[in-house]
Symmetry: C2
Subunit: 158 residues, 2 copies
């Protein structure tokens, strides 16, 4: 732990210290719990799940709990103003499908995921673990996660 008060010679500029601090923030320390639905779920069920779990993004998984796609609030809103019956429309018709989903891993830097969120203009990146059967979903990083990390930068380092 760093001393909370007192002066010491670091030999580094402010910007270097800042970058180093951000480079110590990893996905594993900030990730949230993933909320998933099955490929066979209907769009209506997905919307209900999104409200019950109060998340902005759902991950669609196959029988092995491996990632097959992703559903944003925007996807669901688009579907809900369409002509289809939400109770018979399966989520895999409207989801963004693998491999078109940006993913990250537990040991990635939060900074890199933040850049991915901005570059791809998305709200959420699933945290995955590669297994023999595919990419198991183990967490999620959202812009809320990054906002929490941003605030934590100024917290007291107890």
């Amino acid at each position: 732990a760093r001393p909370r008060v007192g002066y010491f010679y670091t030999g580094k500029s402010g910007t270097q210290l800042l970058t180093e601090s951000v480079m110590k923030l990893f996905v594993r320390d900030y990730q949230a719990v993933p909320v998933v639905v099955k490929e066979q779920s209907t769009v209506y069920d997905a919307i209900v799940t999104m409200f019950l779990e109060d998340v902005g993004t759902l991950f669609v998984v196959d029988e092995s709990f491996c990632l097959s796609g992703i559903l944003s609030r925007k996807d669901l809103l688009r579907a809900s103003i369409g002509k289809q019956d939400l109770n018979s429309l399966p989520v895999n018709i409207i989801m963004t499908r693998m491999p078109n989903v940006a993913v990250c891993e537990r040991d990635d830097l939060l900074l890199d995921v933040a850049k991915t969120l901005l570059d791809k203009q998305i709200d959420c990146v699933p945290v995955v673990k590669k297994t023999g059967k595919g990419q198991e979903v183990v967490g999620r990083v959202t812009k809320t996660t990054i906002t929490r990390a941003f605030v934590s930068l100024t917290d007291d380092p107890h």
Copy 2:
């Protein structure tokens, strides 16, 4: 501007520098353009505007361009799976209404807005300017804004 290389005696710990850097980030330097709809707009029009402008939150304004409420993607999704006709439902029926809307001003710290976003579990805070007629909407701060600020902390300080 800080020197990009070289050693100097700062007399401050890393955490102090970090906090100081974050304390230099103001709403005015990061805010995005607000997207607004009128109180008389229908929910259907609001959904179309949200897609056209590609934003997650709309501000509802009165004739003087002053804030009367706010609409999230979640509000619109909830309305769209309801029984009402979206083409005849006005947005002021489903919006979150003033004074129940958290606002900020251009000269506020981005850090304080980030805390508001987390505390109130919202995605967006309007930036307002007080006028004789109410609070004019001049910008927006979202979790995307905070994510951009987070990434910018490590940028080269040209």
